[in-house]
Symmetry: C2
C-alpha cells in the first residue's frame, strides 16, 4: 500500500535559508554547488545510491540524453503522433524498453493491446459482422446468423465476405484500424483541433471496438495478448481498470460480471504459468461517471460483493470517462460512502484532476478523491493548482498515476516540458508513470511514457536513479499488501540487477 515503504527524506531547506550570504561579495561557489546538489537530490530518484555498474550505465544514459536535448526536434515538445517514430528509433528508447519498469498502475482494459492485433487477429475470425454508422464509424458483432440491424448503422456485412470482395485487403484493414485508434499519420492538430473533438473520437473508437473485445473468445485472447505486450516491454505487474461489461457468445448469450472477473483471473494465471517472470495483475473495477445515482448505488454494491469474492484479485473501484463532461465525485457522495457506511472495504483509485477547467465543480474532484481516502489519483493533472490537495497527497503518500502521452493526445498540454509531472518529479512527489490507453495513442506498454517522463519531465537532470525510483514507486504505490510488495520488490530487483549486468557487459564487450 501507498506509504508502507516510507518516503525518502526531503532535504530540509534550512541550509539554504539559514545561511544567508548577505550579498556582500561573490556567492561562495561551494555554497552554490551545495544548493544545486540539494535541488538534484530533491527530485525523483535524487537520493538513489548507484553502485559502480549502475554509475557506468548512467553515464551512457546521460550522454544519450545530452544529444536529444540539443536537437531541434525535441520529441517531448512535439505531438506524440509526430514524435513516435523519432522516439522508437532513439537509443534512449531502446534502452528504456529493456529497463525493468515494475508495474503499470493506470491502464484501461480495452486499450491495452495493439490495434494491429485486433485487426489482424480478431477481425479475421469467422462469424464477424460489421456495419457503418451515420457518424462514419464502424460497429462489430460476432453472430452465428445475420444480426438484428442497429439503429443509425448500415446493413450488417460479414467481414469475411467483405474481404473476399475487396481487391486491396490491406487498405480495408487499414481503414478498419483507423477506426479503432486515435493515432493518425495526418497532422493531429488539424484532425483533432479541440478537446471536444478528440474526446468525441476517443469515445467513438471505444464504441467501434466494443463488439470485438466483448466477444468471449476475443476477450480472453485480447487480454492475454495485452499482457504479452506489457511483458515484452518489461512490465511485470499490472493494475488494470476494467469495466467488466457483459461478455457475449456466438449464440448471443451473455455472461455475468463475476464470470468476466473470473476469466481475467484465469487468464492471468495462465499467463503467469506461461511466463514465470511475470508477477501478476489486479483489477480495478470501473464505471462510467455519466451514470445516475441509482445506477451508481447498484454498481458500488456490486463492487463490494466482487471485492469480497475476489479479495486478492480485485484491487478496488474507480469512475471513468471524461471528467469535464461527467458528474463530479461529490455528486455521488452518498453512493461512495456506502462501503464505509456498511463497514466494508472497497479501496478507491479515483481519476481526478484530468482537467484544465480551474474552479469548476469537476475541478474539486482532486480534493474529494482525497477526502474519500483514495489509494491513488488517476492523472491529477490539475494538482499543482490545488495546494491543499497537493499537500494532502504528499503527506499521505497518495501517488499520482501520471500518463504523459495520454494528457498530450487528449489536449491538456502540448509541450510535455510544461506538464505538471515535470514539477512533481522535481519535488519527488508521490507518483508513478503509466500509459492509460496505449493502443488508442499508437503506443504500447510503458516505455513511451517512461521516455516522456525521463527526457521531457526530467530534462538533463533525471538519471538512472530516477528510472529506478519510478520502478520502485510502481510497486510501493501498488495495491498489493505489504508482504506481496516485498515479494514483488525482490522479484523486480533480480530483473534490475540482470538488466544492469547485461547492459554494462555489452558496452565492455
Amino acid at each position: 500500500m501507498a506509504g508502507s515503504w516510507g518516503r525518502p527524506l526531503v532535504v530540509c531547506l534550512c541550509m539554504a535559508l539559514c545561511c544567508p550570504w548577505g550579498g556582500l561579495s561573490m556567492p561562495d561557489p561551494k555554497h552554490r554547488e551545495s544548493l544545486i546538489q540539494m535541488e538534484v537530490s530533491m527530485q525523483t530518484g535524487g537520493q538513489m545510491v548507484l553502485n559502480e555498474k549502475e554509475k557506468q550505465l548512467n553515464s551512457r544514459l546521460v550522454q544519450m540524453k545530452q544529444k536529444v536535448v540539443t536537437r531541434a526536434n525535441f520529441p517531448p515538445a512535439m505531438h506524440f503522433f509526430k514524435a513516435r517514430d523519432l522516439i522508437t528509433e532513439s537509443p534512449i528508447f531502446k534502452l528504456l524498453q529493456k529497463v525493468p519498469k515494475g508495474a503499470a498502475l493506470h491502464v484501461h482494459d480495452f486499450s491495452m493491446t495493439a490495434v494491429e492485433w485486433l485487426v489482424k487477429n480478431a477481425t479475421y475470425r469467422p462469424h464477424l459482422y460489421m456495419c457503418c454508422t451515420d457518424t462514419r464509424s464502424i460497429r462489430f458483432i460476432f453472430c452465428s446468423q445475420i444480426p438484428e440491424p442497429l439503429p443509425h448503422c448500415s446493413a450488417w456485412v460479414l467481414v469475411e465476405k467483405l474481404r473476399a470482395m475487396t481487391i486491396n485487403v490491406t487498405e480495408l484493414d487499414d481503414s478498419i484500424m483507423k477506426n479503432l485508434t486515435l493515432f493518425t499519420d495526418l497532422d493531429p492538430d488539424v484532425v483533432y483541433p479541440t478537446q471536444d473533438v478528440v474526446w468525441g473520437r476517443f469515445e467513438e473508437a471505444f464504441r467501434a471496438l466494443w463488439g470485438l473485445v466483448t466477444f468471449a473468445p476475443v476477450f480472453r485472447d485480447y487480454y492475454y495478448q495485452g499482457l504479452g505486450e506489457f511483458h515484452t516491454d518489461n512490465v511485470m505487474y499490472l493494475e488494470l481498470r476494467a469495466l467488466l461489461p457483459e461478455i457475449y457468445e456466438l449464440d448471443g448469450s451473455t455472461h455475468s460480471m463475476t464470470w468476466t472477473l473470473k476469466t481475467y483471473q484465469e487468464q492471468t494465471r495462465q499467463f503467469t504459468a506461461d511466463h514465470p517472470d511475470f508477477f501478476g495483475v489486479r483489477i480495478i473495477f470501473t464505471i462510467q461517471r455519466g451514470v445516475n445515482s441509482t445506477t451508481m448505488a447498484q454498481v458500488v454494491a456490486e463492487a463490494m460483493k466482487l471485492k469480497k469474492d475476489f479479495p486478492d484479485f480485485m484491487a478496488g473501484f474507480d469512475l471513468v470517462g471524461r471528467e469535464d463532461q461527467g458528474r463530479p465525485l461529490w455528486y455521488f457522495r452518498n453512493e461512495l460512502s456506502l462501503p464505509s457506511d456498511r463497514g466494508l472495504q472497497l479501496p478507491f483509485f479515483f481519476h481526478a484532476g484530468e482537467t484544465n477547467l480551474e474552479g469548476s465543480d469537476v475541478d474539486q474532484n482532486l480534493l474529494d478523491a482525497l477526502l474519500f481516502n483514495t489509494s491513488r489519483i488517476g492523472h491529477g493533472f490539475a494538482l499543482l493548482r490545488h495546494p491543499v490537495a497537493k499537500e494532502l497527497s504528499r503527506k499521505r503518500g497518495v501517488a499520482l498515476e501520471i500518463c504523459p502521452v495520454s494528457n498530450q493526445v487528449l489536449k491538456l498540454v502540448d509541450d510535455l516540458r510544461n506538464h505538471p509531472g515535470a514539477v512533481l518529479m522535481a519535488e519527488n512527489h508521490p507518483l508513478v508513470i503509466s500509459s492509460d490507453d496505449p493502443a488508442m495513442f499508437g503506443a504500447s506498454g510503458l516505455s513511451y511514457d517512461f521516455y516522456q517522463a525521463f527526457v521531457g519531465f526530467g530534462g538533463l537532470r533525471s538519471d538512472l536513479g530516477t528510472l529506478k525510483e519510478l520502478a520502485i514507486n510502481s510497486i510501493r504505490y501498488s495495491s498489493l499488501p505489504a508482504q506481496q510488495q516485498e515479494k514483488a520488490l525482490a522479484f523486480w530487483q533480480k530483473k534490475w540487477d540482470k538488466f544492469i549486468f547485461e547492459n554494462t557487459q555489452s558496452v565492455q564487450g
Copy 2:
C-alpha cells in the same frame, strides 16, 4: 523594496492535516467546504477583504468570466495573435483596461510604444532613409545627406521619396509595420514554427526599428508616447529596462549614456507635469548577455556610476537577450560581484529562467540570480522545476515578473492555463504581471497580460481581490524606497476607489 510590506500569512495546512476524517463515513461537508475555502484563501488576492461596492463589482466580474470559461474558443488557450481581437472586444477586457493596475515592472525600452505610432509618426519625418537587408528585413537611418551604404543591405532610399513614388501608401506602411513587430494575421504557428525562428525574427525586428528609435527627436517622442499608452491603460508607474544606447542626431553626432538617461528623466518629468495622475518611472539599465567579460566589467562600472549620479531615477541593472543563447549569470560572477566588492549599491533585476532547457547551465540562472541578491526575477518561467530557488524566492519575497503573452509568443508555452503563473498564483507566490515587449506582440500597456493572468491563470477562482493584490504587488515589489511606496500606494488607492465608484455607479444608473 520587495518584502518591506510583509506578505499575507499563508494559511497553515495543519487544519487539513491534523484533523483526519479517517474515511469511516462520508466526508463532513463542512470540513470539505473549509478545505475548499482554505485553497481559495491561499491564492493571490485570496485574503483581500472586499467592501460592499467591491463585492458588487466582483459579482459582475465573476459572471462575465463564467461566460468566457464555458465558450469553445477560450482566449488564454489560443495563440495571442489569434485571440487578441476576441480579448479586445470582451467585456472583461474593457473592464480590465479601466482597472488601476499600479505599475508595469517588466517592460523594455524599444517595445513600449505601438508600432503604428512608429510608422505613422516616426517614418513620416524628413531625412529618413531605408534599405532592405539580404535577410528581407529593413534598416532605417535619419541623415542630412545620403548615408554610407550598409553591408548586406540595398542602397539607401529616402522614405519620403519612396512614398511619393508609391501608389498604395497604406500597403507600404503596412509592409514597414510588419518588419517592426512579431504580430501577424497569418497563422503564427506556421510563421513561427520554433523558438529559434521566433527569436530570430524578434531580434531582427529590434534591428529594424533601431535606426528610428535611437534618433534623438524620435527617441524623446517615442518614450513620451509610450508613457501615454501605459497611462491610458491605467498604469501609473513604470520600471523600464533600458539599453541606454548611443542616441544620434541628424548630423551623425552621438550622445553619451548619461545624456540618454537624463533625457529619460526630463521626458518623465515633462510627462508627469502634463499628467499629474501619473506617478513616475525608474530605469533599469540593461546590457546584452552575449557580451564578453571585459565589456561586462566596463558596463557594470558604468552602471555603478549611473546609479551614483541618478540615485532616485536609476533602479538598477539587468542582462537581456535570449537566455538559451546567451552566457549564464555565473559566467559573469566576477563582474557581477564588482559592486559588492567595492561596497557600492547596484540593485539587480535579473531575467532568469526564461527557458525550458531543464538542467542546462542557463537553467541555473534562477538560483544564481537569487545568490546575487536579485531584487526581482524577470520571468522565472522555470521556477517550478527548481524547488530550492522557489523556496528562496518565496521566503525572501523576491517577486517574479510574469509576462504571459511574451512567454506564449516566444513559444515557452501554448495554452496559458499550463503557464507556471497559474500555479504560482494558486500559492500566492510573490509575483507581478507585466507585458515585456507589448508592441512586439501586438499588445499595449498591461491589460492584455492582466487578462491572461486573470482569466487564464486564475480560472474561475480569481476575482476582484486578485486584481487588487496584483496591483498592490506591483507597488510593493517595485524598487521604490519605503516612503515612496507608501506615497504610491496612497496614490493608487485613490484611483482604485474612483474606479470602484464609477463602475458600480454605471451598473445602477
